[in-house]
């Protein structure tokens, strides 16, 4: 049995700002396909000069961790402060890390 697709699929939108080096997740929208999702992201999420580059990703393609497993996944890192590289001096020549 096939069910008719009534709603356009959902897309996650990532925008890179003028200063930023990475695309940041800023929201989602409905669109018929990738090209349309890009145009709509431009209209919905960059009206106030938020960005200079846009990525869109089908929401269905994202595999997410289970919120119920938050404890076992993330809590064990809480007491391992030595993993933060805050004890090193980074030479200026290295630039952005």
């Amino acid at each position: 049995m096939t069910t008719e697709l009534k709603e356009w699929p959902l897309w996650e939108v990532f925008v890179r700002s003028k200063q930023g080096l990475e695309h940041k997740h800023c929201g989602s929208l409905h669109a018929a396909d990738a090209a349309q999702a890009l145009d709509m992201a431009r209209d919905v999420y960059t009206r106030r000069q938020e960005g200079v580059s846009i990525w869109v990703v089908p929401s269905a393609q994202i595999t997410a961790s289970n919120p119920d497993e938050k404890g076992e996944l993330f809590d064990p890192a809480a007491d391992k402060i030595y993993r933060h590289p805050t004890f090193y001096e980074i030479p200026d020549e290295v630039g952005h890390m």
């Binding site: 409905h30 018929a32 209209d43």
Partner: protein, 260 residues
């Protein structure tokens, strides 16, 4: 009226009237994302109109202002193409129950944006430096309007039987009004002679190319043109402009020196 102001008012009125028309979709768009997209188009057009009215007001001097030009001129003084003042409803009675027909909106935005993408580019070389600067800014905006409307034209034309029929009906209804693009007016002829304006005949082949390519992709049939040629740019308008202006101007006229 000097040569420049008459021509500039034609460009300004085009932008304002279509901006006002498209703004009718604000809050009524077919989906949220399109509602915002079309409002963006409107704001671009109203922004273009403001720059052009400000330029006219500075040329006229005295107590001329952009608001006076937009809100205190009457139907016969407006110089926009008739195409741009028509309502968003299609000509088919079966479909006209929807007072806002998105196919009509898209076809009109496409036909006009295709012209303005060419005209603003040509006007970047205008002898009037202010107009050339406005053209540069507007060109970027209209290129996106063309991309947006062309994308939807293809989606609707090459879509379902219903969307194809409505888009073809809108095209059959609106295309004859584009004949006005290619018939001259005294204001345009004077502006061309002064080096301020552009002879649209020089853009027609490119416009035909843009339109034909999009219509082919959209599986739409280009209607044959004949019959009445509208004369909105000479101040002879359809009955629709009066209603549009009444809605747009009433607030400013009720509070003539209001500030907000």
């Amino acid at each position: 009226m000097s040569t420049a102001t008459d021509y500039l008012l034609h460009l300004a009125d085009n932008a304002l009237v279509l901006g006002q028309r498209n703004a009718e979709w604000c809050g009524h768009g077919p989906i949220l994302e399109e509602d915002i997209a079309l409002s963006n188009v409107s704001l671009d057009l109203i922004g273009q109109a403001r720059l052009l009215y400000q330029l006219v007001a500075s040329l006229q001097g005295g107590d001329a202002t952009e608001d006076k030009l937009a809100y205190f001129r009457d139907t016969g003084e407006f110089r926009n193409y008739t195409l741009l003042e028509l309502p968003h409803s299609g000509p088919l009675s079966g479909y006209a129950h929807a007072s806002l027909d998105y196919g009509t909106t898209i076809v009109r935005n496409f036909l006009y944006s295709a012209l303005m993408a060419l005209l603003w580019e040509a006007l970047e070389k205008s002898a009037n430096a202010d107009l050339a600067a406005i053209a540069s800014k507007s060109l970027k905006e209209v290129r996106y309007h063309l991309r947006h409307s062309r994308d939807w034209l293809v989606r609707l034309g090459d879509g379902t039987d219903e969307s194809h029929a409505r888009t073809q009906a809108a095209l059959d209804h609106l295309m004859p009004y584009t004949q006005e693009f290619w018939t001259g007016s005294p204001a345009e002829a004077a502006a061309v002679a002064a080096g301020i304006g552009v002879d649209l005949q020089t853009l027609k082949a490119d416009w035909d190319g843009i339109v034909d390519a999009a219509l082919t992709e959209a599986t739409l049939k280009r209607p044959l043109l004949e019959g009445y040629v509208s004369e909105g740019k000479k101040g002879l308008h359809s009955e629709h402009l009066g209603f549009l202006l009444a809605e747009m101007q009433s607030l400013a006229r009720a509070h003539p020196n209001g500030n907000w």
